[in-house]
């Protein structure tokens, strides 16, 4: 080859290398811009190798249910929430491989709810791919998922280089886009709207079993084959969701399938009886718990893991300081949205139903609360919040007897909008047991 040709070739290669680096740097700022996902991916990478008790894999039904900092705070167990919103069932086997790379001895908790359907869209793919660290496993996962959707080569490009899809967001970028880092929450859920709302749901649990479609069986079969081959410690779980009977039936079928293959499956589709999650007050929507429900769920699953898998309390270990930090960070985050009795783990009686509340302003611009009787309640605590945003806290402002169902707040000058909730309690052996509460939609505009 002529000297000049070699020179040109070297120049071209160097040029494309520099261009590649520049694009890679640029790419860092242009993804789906969901930094809770970024935090989960990065956070998992930052965990010391083989240091976790369990890795909990699933879609939003995973991280809106289980809150790792609470499990650490109350039980000293390290369960990382490695869930990605809209995680396709087809990606489970790759996520399992990714988890095992760093935590080969951990228990893997796999949420089966994602298997209720095999569909996924572009957004789901970006959520699951954009922040995942590059590896052969990721490339295989991309190839697999993109092939299933029959994307053309041109349409696949945006998943290899999300900048191509999200570049138009440049005009809406904020400093956060340039400074985002791992939030230190161990995968705990980090968007607030479900924290401030409850959405009553109606569940209709069925025990019937329906055979899923071919693809579901094939994907599940491949996952189980892999788990068999690698002898992975796994616990399958299902969590409550509002599903039609057929979808539930398919999940029931899959539960049986994994049990037949010798894996344990914890069915938590049933509510209340076992861990206190209530249809009326603990759901954000038909698929996700609100913070109050997730506190109950985390408590239940943590107890279950300790009891059945022998997880020990690791609090106080120097190497796990980041978990203590996560408790502080998570506390800062949820404190404005939770009651003191939740944070302090006061004894609960979930049979005490949340009273239905109304609030009105009287002529003197005082807030007049009325509520329905909660059977079995010996009294009611009244809490108030002056701003629905995260800069104020729920404060107990009064306590009434079990026979009083109304209360007037005369200190209404503090804010234009006031929010209330009424917490029923009963007393047993001198100890107060607190029931359920709801504050969704209870707001008051003092005109």
């Amino acid at each position: 080859m002529k000297k000049n040709t070699i020179k040109i070739l070297v120049k071209c290669i160097a040029f494309f290398a520099v261009l590649f680096v520049c694009i890679a740097i640029l790419q860092h700022f242009f993804g789906i811009r969901d930094y809770s996902i970024y935090s989960r991916e990065q956070g998992f990478l930052q965990e010391e190798e083989n240091s976790l008790d369990a890795v909990y894999i699933g879609a939003s039904h995973e991280f809106s249910f289980f809150q790792p900092p609470l499990a650490w705070k109350d039980h000293g167990i390290t369960v990382f929430s490695y869930g990605i919103p809209s995680m396709p069932a087809q990606s489970y086997v790759y996520r399992v491989k990714e988890a095992l790379k760093r935590q080969p001895d951990s228990l893997l908790i796999l949420n089966l709810n994602s298997f209720k359907s095999m569909g996924f869209n572009d957004k789901a793919l970006h959520r699951n791919l954009d922040y995942m660290p590059w590896s052969v496993n990721k490339l295989e996962m991309m190839q697999d998922l993109l092939s299933r959707k029959n994307y053309s080569i041109e349409n696949r490009l945006e998943f290899y280089l999300p900048l191509l899809r999200f570049h138009s967001g440049w005009s809406e970028m904020t400093s956060k886009d340039f400074t985002h880092t791992y939030n230190g929450l161990k995968g705990a859920y980090y968007y607030k709207y479900f924290l401030q709302t409850s959405s009553p749901q109606t569940f209709d649990v069925t025990e019937e079993s329906t055979q899923p479609d071919e693809e579901t069986l094939q994907v599940m079969g491949e996952l189980l084959d892999y788990l068999d081959r690698e002898k992975v410690r796994v616990l399958f779980v299902t969590v409550p969701q509002v599903l039609d009977k057929e979808s539930q039936g398919r999940l029931n079928y899959l539960e049986e399938m994994v049990r037949d293959r010798g894996y344990e499956c914890l069915d938590m589709m049933g509510l209340g009886d076992t861990y206190g999650v209530q249809e009326a007050v603990d759901f954000h929507d038909s698929n996700h718990l609100n913070i109050h429900g997730s506190i109950k769920f985390t408590e239940y699953l943590s107890d279950y893991l300790i009891e059945n898998y022998g997880f020990t309390d690791k609090r106080g270990r120097d190497s796990l300081e980041s978990w203590d930090t996560s408790v502080t960070l998570y506390g800062d985050y949820i404190d404005p949205w939770t009651l003191d009795i939740e944070r302090d783990h006061a004894p609960r009686d979930y049979d005490l139903q949340a009273p239905e509340m109304t609030v009105r302003a009287d002529e003197e611009q005082h807030a007049v609360l009325s509520w329905t009787e909660t059977p079995g309640a010996d009294g009611y605590r009244i809490y108030r919040k002056t701003n629905i945003e995260g800069d104020t806290f729920w404060k107990q402002t009064a306590e009434t007897s079990g026979e009083t169902f109304t209360w007037t707040d005369t200190h209404t000058e503090e804010a234009a909008r006031l929010y209330y909730t009424v917490l029923p309690f009963r007393t047993e052996n001198g100890e107060d047991l607190f029931g359920n509460f709801s504050f969704a939609g209870v707001d008051l505009r003092i005109s």
């Binding site: 040109i8 120049k11 040029f15 520099v18 261009l19 520049c22 694009i23 640029l26 242009f30 572009d122 080569i153 041109e154 490009l157 945006e158 900048l163 191509l164 899809r165 999200f166 570049h167 138009s168 967001g169 440049w170 005009s171 809406e172």
Partner: protein
């Protein structure tokens, strides 16, 4: 597969690679296969129309050439009994050639007229025919890619052979390459056989410098298309297509923005075509010469879509003005109205016909004809009223051509061109007239600059700022070109590190600020549809 797609990038890379590893004498075959492949990917079986047009033009060229050769031989060798007989023979040959050319043009043009204009002609004719109780059926044909361009190329080739300006091509496949050369088939330029064919058939060696120049042109074309044209299209679409009643200067802004869009879109596409050709060692004609620096509408058309203008001049305007009927008109009007009118009237009539055809070439709708006539009218005014303009200038106390006067002329021309484009951008002539009417409503109202109405046109503030910067860059580049400064040569003289910063910067700017991808669908080239 458009010029702004990933598949086109792959296609180009493969073509360039195969082209330069192929021995020189076979390189044209690579180009032909690439061109047919490109055509097939875009228009599938409609490639038969391209082949038919090429075959017609090729055979006509050969036939005309044969007639010429045999007639010349006969004229030279035969012992003519009289000059009369020789003259008669010459005339009969000319007639044969004319009939042949006419038939061939009819075939080639017929395909364009049927595929592109049948529906328009039928619907227009039906308005009258309905009164007689019948009407022509309405068909909508699929349009082969680039038919408006290759038809004109074929006609120019046949006329040039007829006129003896051009030797007939003797290899059909080479001629097919001339007709189908993929970088120019999408939106021109309209090449002449003598300018392009030899370059296409010649062998070319890879040149690093030429390749970088070509890539620079492609990058520049992408920037114009993706950063300016497709971005400015968003408010233009909102203003013209949303059905909202905009008024005054906001509507005028829409017309101005559309002018920016068309220029960035068309010239961007042309830069890409020229860039790709340049990498292959083929120089396409420039189709633009800083059109918005034109100081008159006539001057504008010498700078805008130059190859269409010169085609119209050579194959419509001159033949018309020199034709018998026009000469007769000139003579008669000279007698009645005097020399001034008699001299100018044929040119005026020919101009109107040319500009109506230019309009019609853009699309089979009355609005395009109106757009053409608007330009014809302004040019006619320029031809008829030069003395009045001179007097007005004198009255204003302007002598010579100071900068302020030139600037005024440039802005005036741009305004007239932009207003004319309202016809082509609106849905119909009536809509365009409605737009003009609305422009006069509250025309003084400038509050849209500050009251947030600009942001309701589909672009947020950062995007408007970006658009403004990009248009300024385009303007400065055109200004430098106008002053004869060669930017690419200037960049080539800079140190490697500077050049790389420019190239990589341009690529990153396109990647981030370009309008493309699933969030924004990159728009088709405007002239591709013509």
């Amino acid at each position: 597969m458009t010029f702004v797609s990933f598949s086109f990038l792959i296609f180009i890379t493969l073509t360039v690679f195969v082209y330069f590893i192929t021995p020189g004498r076979w390189q044209w075959v690579v180009l032909l296969l690439a061109s047919l492949c490109f055509f097939w990917l875009n228009s599938r079986w409609l490639v038969v129309f391209l082949a038919a047009a090429a075959l017609t033009a090729f055979l006509t060229g050969l036939w005309l050439s044969n007639i010429d050769r045999t007639s010349k031989k006969l004229l030279k060798e035969k012992d003519w009994s009289s000059k009369e007989e020789k003259k008669k023979y010459r005339e009969s040959v000319k007639r044969r050639k004319k009939v042949l050319l006419f038939c061939a043009i009819l075939v080639v043009l017929g395909m364009l007229l049927v595929l592109k204009y049948y529906r328009f002609f039928a619907s227009t004719a039906n308005q009258g025919l309905r009164l007689l109780g019948f009407e022509l059926p309405s068909f909508k044909f699929l349009m082969p890619l680039g038919i408006s361009f290759y038809t004109l190329q074929a006609i120019a080739y046949m006329v040039d052979v007829y006129r003896g300006k051009e030797e007939a091509d003797r290899n059909f496949f080479r001629f097919l390459l001339f007709m189908s050369f993929f970088p120019q088939i999408v939106q021109g330029p309209i090449a002449r056989h003598h300018q392009l064919a030899e370059q296409l058939y010649a062998s070319h060696r890879f040149s690093y410098l030429r390749c970088t120049f070509g890539l620079q042109l492609i990058l520049w074309g992408w920037m114009k298309k993706l950063i300016i044209a497709d971005r400015v299209m968003i408010p233009v679409t909102q203003i013209f297509d949303s059905g909202k009643q905009y008024t005054g200067l906001l509507l005028f802004l829409g017309a101005v923005l559309y002018s920016v869009q068309v220029y960035a879109d068309f010239s961007g596409g042309m830069d890409m075509a020229r860039g790709v050709s340049q990498i292959l060692g083929i120089e396409l004609e420039e189709n633009f010469r800083q059109p918005y620096f034109a100081d008159s509408v006539e001057n504008f058309w010498r700078r805008w879509h130059i190859t269409l203008g010169s085609w119209m001049r050579d194959y419509v305007f001159y033949p018309l003005t020199l034709s018998g009927p026009f000469v007769t008109i000139s003579k008669k009007t000279r007698k009645i109205f005097g020399a001034f009118v008699g001299k100018r009237l044929p040119a005026l009539l020919a101009s109107f016909i040319v500009y109506a055809l230019v309009g019609l070439w853009h699309g089979p709708e009355w609005k395009y004809i109106a757009y053409g006539l608007w330009n014809g009218l302004i040019i006619a005014a320029g031809i008829l009223l030069p003395e009045i303009y001179a007097r007005m200038k004198k009255l204003a106390g302007i002598e010579g051509t100071p900068f302020s006067w030139r600037l005024f002329m440039i802005l005036r021309t741009f305004t007239l061109i932009s207003l004319g484009r309202v016809f082509s951008r609106s849905g119909s002539v009536m809509t365009a007239l409605h737009v003009f009417k609305n422009m006069t409503v509250q025309w003084w109202d400038l509050s849209f600059w500050v009251d947030g109405r600009l942001n309701e046109l589909g672009l947020d503030s950062p995007n408007w700022v970006l658009l403004l910067i990009a248009v300024c860059v385009l303007l400065i580049t055109d200004l430098l070109h106008e002053k004869g400064i060669r930017i690419r040569e200037g960049i080539a003289r800079q140190p490697l590190i500077f050049r790389w910063i420019v190239y990589i910067g341009a690529i990153l700017v396109i990647l981030v600020f370009g309008i493309y991808g699933a969030e924004y669908n990159s728009a088709s080239f405007i002239y591709e549809q013509f």
